[in-house]
Symmetry: C3
Subunit: 337 residues, 3 copies
Amino acid sequence: MNFTGAHIVSIDQFERPDVEAIFAVADRMQPYALRKRVTRVLEGAILGNMFFEASTRTRISFGSAFNLLGGEVRETAGFDNSALVKGESLQDTARVLSGFSDVICMRHPVAGSVADFALASRVPVVSGGDGANEHPTQALLDLYTIRKEMADRGRSITGLKIAMIGDLRHGRTVHSLGKLLCLYTDVEVVLISPEKLSLPEGIVELMRNSSIKVTHYDDLLEGIVDVDIVYSTRIQEERFPNKREADLYRGKFRLNQAIYTEFCQPNTVIMHPMPRDSRSDANELDCDLDNNPNLAIFRQADNGVLVRMALFAMVLDVVDSVDAHSHDVRWFNARQN
Amino acid sequence: MNFTGAHIVSIDQFERPDVEAIFAVADRMQPYALRKRVTRVLEGAILGNMFFEASTRTRISFGSAFNLLGGEVRETAGFDNSALVKGESLQDTARVLSGFSDVICMRHPVAGSVADFALASRVPVVSGGDGANEHPTQALLDLYTIRKEMADRGRSITGLKIAMIGDLRHGRTVHSLGKLLCLYTDVEVVLISPEKLSLPEGIVELMRNSSIKVTHYDDLLEGIVDVDIVYSTRIQEERFPNKREADLYRGKFRLNQAIYTEFCQPNTVIMHPMPRDSRSDANELDCDLDNNPNLAIFRQADNGVLVRMALFAMVLDVVDSVDAHSHDVRWFNARQN
Amino acid sequence: MNFTGAHIVSIDQFERPDVEAIFAVADRMQPYALRKRVTRVLEGAILGNMFFEASTRTRISFGSAFNLLGGEVRETAGFDNSALVKGESLQDTARVLSGFSDVICMRHPVAGSVADFALASRVPVVSGGDGANEHPTQALLDLYTIRKEMADRGRSITGLKIAMIGDLRHGRTVHSLGKLLCLYTDVEVVLISPEKLSLPEGIVELMRNSSIKVTHYDDLLEGIVDVDIVYSTRIQEERFPNKREADLYRGKFRLNQAIYTEFCQPNTVIMHPMPRDSRSDANELDCDLDNNPNLAIFRQADNGVLVRMALFAMVLDVVDSVDAHSHDVRWFNARQN
């Protein structure tokens, strides 16, 4: 696809070369994210960071990515009730807001709303998630993390065996990741969940049709043997009819260091879309894993900045001028110490 | 008036040469708003964008205008209940906040509060609206839009015939626009509203005293014949004692393409202060007008950025150095494609 | 202490040379805070301004301080309920958010939370206050103000006699200031409060042990005679079990111009951590003091920007490069007129 001026609203937009192009640019953003260099290529550009649903970490990740390219951020955080009361359509909101910025990132609680908004926007729109529907940058950063972690182990996505664990029914991140993996060959996916929280059949079919080998387990210990990556997810309490039903499943698939040592391969990568639920009755990924070098969850969050920088740079067509407008970092860099 | 260091809190501050000076500067801001050039003239300056009442679009319009001049924005969005609980006076708030920025934009729900705040501020204050009282930048952007749209039709504000439609009693934008029009000659204003929502008598008198010809209609179709501009407004539901009373009037003056074609002149400009209520029972400006090239409502919103850039540039006395600190745009510009 | 890369979470970290180093750097920030010069030394750096408790003035003071050094600010304002619901630990939040910025300022309602957060953060953390516990930059700006006001009167902190007035039990600013004063010699502290709101015994002991002379009064007029500084505080209504109990004490120690004239020395400095309660039943510092040149409360707020700039510059190790990356101010400067 041609990224210049494009909206990024769904992973269905991407062919494998697109995904690899994004990852190649993300790699080139590393020196800036690590504050080895500063670039000012987007000096004067404005991101409209429109979060009509609260999400501190994603909002700040997008905003920081834009700042790291030299641009400014105007933003809104949380649902603006007044606009709804006044009956404005999403299309009008898009037409007006797109007059204020060069690119928009939008999160909205209603599925499909970001794509609708993009249709009316006069500037490129990057989705920050639309309800239970899509969160394309999360899917991309997950796959980018897999690629990077595997590369560190002398491997690649081809030939990968990954276990997806927990609330596979509501977790949109595993849905999207499942779809993206279809772009690759020789992949094996192990689904570990209670039956009621299993991955939607449509996605399983998609994977099978593209030659991914899919197996099911409802026992954690059996499923995680032999996999390269365990991708753990949170019980999406907020998507259950009530807390009591969510509680039935909470903490059923806890991974801790003892289990890891006994059942996993020595280099198995541990991922999680975050936030992880650290309350004692949930504790999906035990904090005793925090010193395990294979725990990739914080590298995963860091990779989000790289992928978002890459998308902004591609959509605004500055990939090849990032370096030309760069200079040294002038301040103490905690990341290099 | 001398704009350097001045507070902008009321349209009563302006004589006609002042308004024209603002519009001339707004014209010069166009290349920056359209991202044909980037200016850094306000690099290092800080706008305190203090919105003590939620208003996403106005807040972001002000912030973007300041960013487009190269400055930074610190802001607050929504009423800070904690300050009120602690009993701080508006004067103290002004004295403290004005220590943090070079210029302040303030919106506040209480009429008169922005002018009070400005008295105590140590830096220039630009009003972002104070309750039902004033919203001077809206009035200026409305008149700037009228001037521009008329110029595109080989006309000027002098000789204009404009219809104001809807809730003329509560709509502060038509109050302010009515006052501003008094600065011009040979203007005719057609008021179209139910009697209970008619324009306050004081403003009608002001207009008549300055030789504006004012006529009343309660029928939309009769009133809009022969006018150059229809300025439609929203039923200000939030200013009615209850929703039921607001509902009495909702949707009484709907303009759609069929009515436009049958009753308006072929080039009649359609304006609206936005947001327009697009719910089916309101629908003041039908969405079937969206492809009508005379629908100026989105150009109107865009003009807000120009007018706000102009005011910041004038108040901070950088009008003549904007260009000297400019450079080319380095990224993909959606507006030129 | 070595400031480079350090967390600033408690005044207990500081020895007297540390405090004096901060004040010396704060003095050097004055030309930038007064907009006589602009520095871009932190161009490209990002402050994560994480206010998990609403506090407009402190949040904006930190953000402006960072902007004045040339850096960008990403921020959150108010408690993000969604993160708590999802059960994320403060440690995880710290690890993730510290991937997005070069330094973090954090305010949080829970005592001890900022220090916990700092332990897990990968970048330096500066406390913006943690509940009833610490607010170190407030303590530093208070002492910096005392030093500056005394210097203007040809005096220094050594030899100072200061009255602390009001709710000394709940006011964390007087607790911290009391501790900081222990770093100096020949200081006398006069405590003026109702018995139930008196300074915690632990802090009184600390002061006495470090040779500060401490005296108690429950009468304002007796206590303020002969002091160099009166430091008035607000009844911390929100820390009382109910409003009725807070009301018992409200307005008991009102200072106004008549009392000042009759009982204070002619040059007695008036301080207050702000906000001051200006409601008629409170009115701790009467507004008739606003024209008294010894009223230092707004200078005190201004000094907060200097102290915060100094801490950022020291923690990020740019103190000696601030001037090298500076240029003239290009816009109208209200502060010099």
